[in-house]
């Protein structure tokens, strides 16, 4: 037990350090861009997972990201608000939306919730398309300002290079991981895990299930909103085509690929799949097919995801001895 | 021998629920398995009918080895099974429930004949013929469950906890009914927690504790046994 947790700490420290130093080794914008994508997509995938822990499948995570992106972009463009105000606001707006959607649907068994989120992903796209004046219609918001420079004493972060964005994404990612970790390790995590098993029993013990489920859903949406805000200001534009059902599927796939059992799963899943996605770029039109097959195979033969591979190998070796 | 269970072991994951049990049923007899929850009684029946695969051991029915076969195939060989908790199809009518019981019989006239015979045994079902199974009372549902198991014209019928949740009054009638079924030439394997009923109607009995047979023999002798008296009959 103890050994195991020390190993974990060492791994986290090494990976963390490597991540922090990445820009020192490579200032290649292409590499940095992929690294940023991995960090941001991990935030989204972690948000899906925390809801999955309570037994619910959210397939509208891209919509929450989209609402964060649009809210942040619109506020910055129309009202001229600073990114540093828009960023947390985007998270809060996405979270409020999650509460509105979650309240009527999380109380019922899983299937209803899945379908509602499915509907939400299509409906949200319609809203952005329709509402020209605010969201720019089909072509979206163009010319979203980059984050304002921060001046810390002599150090000025101008957001004129990918390195600055990388560190910003890294900070957001670390905050997400920290909050998710504490959330799951606290009693709330225990309660969330208890619901899929016997929610009636939990409720009859005085646990207000809805409070915890909605909180988990809102938390996942909050970080999706942050991710969306970052994405919009990083690219300086966003459109309805960036936050589709398909994008949500991809996020879900990262969770499943990595493994749903731990926080590391969705992060590993995002890293591996996004890298794979880059490597397979020449076969882009076959990507959905390949992804579909991978998804089916992983769930069939490796339900624990990529993260379970070391364990599987260890088991195999042990059996031989 | 009608049914022979030879030293079967059954696991749920790593837990061994049945630890090498052997049971024999002579043609035309009533045999009871008694014991508390977790003794492995229901597991034995589920294994016998093919819903669960034994880890080791053999099951022979009418001189044919049946362990490991899928449940529908075992049913076709002439074993009827009234499940624990009745498990009737609550959204189907009584008539449709019985029809499903006769699923293995293709001939319409034959089904009709069985239906008449079974309804003669359970007159109450005739009155409820077009009612949905879920609207019957507990006792009626139990009757329907047994009747449904009888529809395929089995030579052996397995009854899993038929007395569970029934009024003591109905439990008395149940004993008579099991005897009636047996008189039709059907062998009966009865699993009961109500040991008084279980041993009362049986020719032979087996007492199970945590997955093992601790006592077996003529049911009258078992009822006189001190251990059985203390733990199961509570005299």
């Amino acid at each position: 037990m103890k050994n195991n947790s020390t190993t974990k700490k060492v791994i986290i420290a090494i990976v963390g350090l490597a991540a922090i130093l990445l820009p020192v080794f490579s200032s290649d914008p292409y590499i940095l861009h992929i690294a940023i994508a991995i960090l941001i997509w991990s935030m989204l995938a972690l948000g899906i997972r925390i809801v999955l822990v309570s037994g619910h499948l959210n397939i509208a995570q891209a919509s929450f990201m989209g609402f964060g992106a649009y809210a942040s972009g619109a506020l910055a463009m129309k009202l001229g608000w600073s990114f540093w105000i828009c960023l947390p606001l985007a998270g809060v707006i996405a979270a409020i939306l999650a509460i509105i959607v979650g309240l009527p649907t999380l109380r019922i068994k899983g299937a209803y919730f899945v379908i509602i989120t499915l509907g939400l992903s299509e409906v949200s796209r319609r809203i952005w398309m329709m509402w020209d004046s605010l969201f720019g219609g089909p072509q979206g918001l163009l010319g979203i300002p980059p984050p304002d420079a921060i001046k810390l004493g002599g150090l000025a972060i101008m957001f004129n290079s990918k390195v600055h964005y990388f560190y910003l994404a890294f900070v957001l990612f670390v905050i997400t991981v920290f909050v998710m970790w504490r959330f799951e390790k606290s009693r709330t995590g225990l309660l969330l895990k208890s619901f899929p098993k016997a929610d009636m029993l939990a409720e009859s013990s005085g646990v207000y299930i809805m409070k915890y489920k909605v909180a988990a859903f809102a938390l996942g949406a909050f970080f999706a909103g942050l991710a969306g805000s970052f994405w919009a200001h990083y690219f300086t534009y966003c459109s309805p085509w960036d936050f589709t059902l398909m994008a949500s599927f991809y996020m879900l796939m990262y969770v499943v690929m990595g493994g749903t059992g731990s926080i590391a799963g969705p992060i590993v899943g995002s890293a591996v799949m996004l890298t794979l996605d880059e490597l397979l770029r020449p076969f882009k039109e076959y990507m959905p097919m390949i992804l579909g097959v991978i998804l089916i195979l992983v769930l069939r033969f490796m339900p624990g995801g990529i993260i379970s591979i070391p364990g599987l190998i260890r088991d195999a070796v042990m059996r031989k001895e | 021998m009608h049914l022979e269970i030879k030293n079967i072991k059954v696991h749920y994951g790593k837990v061994e629920a049945v630890k090498g049990v052997s049971v024999n049923i002579e043609k035309g007899t009533v045999v009871s398995l008694i014991g508390g929850n977790g003794a492995g009684k229901s597991t034995i029946l589920r294994t016998l009918i093919g819903l669960k695969k034994p880890t080791s051991g053999e099951i022979w029915f009418n001189g044919e080895r049946i362990d490991g076969l899928p449940a529908p195939q075992i049913t076709r060989k002439g074993i009827g099974y009234s499940m624990e908790g009745r498990r009737i199809f609550s959204g189907l009518t009584v008539h449709e429930n019985l029809e499903m019981g006769a699923y293995v019989i293709k001939d319409k006239q034959e089904i009709q004949k069985r239906m008449d015979e079974v309804c003669a045994l359970f007159p109450i079902l005739r009155e409820r013929f077009d009612q949905k199974g879920g609207t019957l009372s507990g006792g009626e549902q139990q009757m329907l469950a047994i009747a449904r198991a009888m529809m395929s014209e089995p030579s052996l019928i397995l009854l899993d906890e038929p007395s569970l949740g029934l009024a003591p009054k109905i439990v008395q009638e149940l004993g008579v009914l099991i005897r009636d079924i047996n008189k039709m030439g059907v062998s009966v394997l009865l699993v009961e927690q109500n040991s008084k009923l279980g041993l009362g109607v049986a020719d032979r009995g087996y007492v199970l504790e945590v997955g093992e047979v601790v006592l077996e023999g003529d049911s009258k002798e078992l009822m006189a046994n001190d251990h059985v008296k203390k733990i199961y009959l509570g005299v």
Binding site: I116, E122, L252 | L51, Y81, F89, S90
Partner: protein
Amino acid sequence: MEVFLQTLANGVMASLTLALIAIGLCLIFGILSIINFAHGEFYMLGGFGVWWFLEAHPIFAGMPALVGYIIAILISMVVVAVIGMIVEKWIFRPVREPHETVMIVSLGVMLFLQAAALVAFGPVDKSVSSPFAGLVQLGTVSFSNERLAAIIGCIIFIAILYVIIDRTRMGKAMRAVAMDSEAAEVQGIKTGMIFSVAMGVSCAIAAAGGALVGPIYYINPYMAVEPIMKAFAAVILGGLGSLPGAVAGAFIIGLTETFVSTYVGAHFALIVVFLIMIGVLIVKPTGLFGHEE
């Protein structure tokens, strides 16, 4: 008034197509306990099926148009049913538990079929020339024969399905499996076979839907995305697992959608459908025809 009647007729057709998809979804949910996200793709394949036999490889060109059309629909249904049965047996069945896993697997199937259709047939909209030329004139309202034929076709398939489920031995066995698959198995019902049949039937009627109305709108790899969403809404409105509920839900959704599209705007339609869905769930969490417990 004319617009109203015209919209009503279109709404009825849209509702019936939705009902064909929704019934299949509902059947699969009831019997296999699977929320099958790939269901819409079978509808899409049905559409491509008639296109394949009538336009791409017109092998029935020698026959009278109507006969060729009907044969094309039937063959498409059979082919799609077989694909569905393969998917069920080799992909869904091995991972039946837990439900979330099967749902995600069905997403994988959906991605695969959509992309496969894109690779095989390309993204361009396909059209099929209908054997039903001309218009029916009902008072001041005119209605194309093609649409009338689709309506009649849908009604026929729904009726056939109703008879199968309600009256036949197989149908009763299906309902028995849906209620308690283990209890069904000990009556001698081979549940594996029932799963295959249920999947085959539901895929076949989805394909029928695609074959009947696909040509009226358009045929492309993404043609199922919207209908499946609305079919899900219909199934939820009616109460998961209830076949009459699915049909009722399909009519509520189909009519609302058509009328809102006509009188307010196409983008609003889906939003209104979504709001109705949430509204019903707030008032009656089990759907209109669903039961408590």
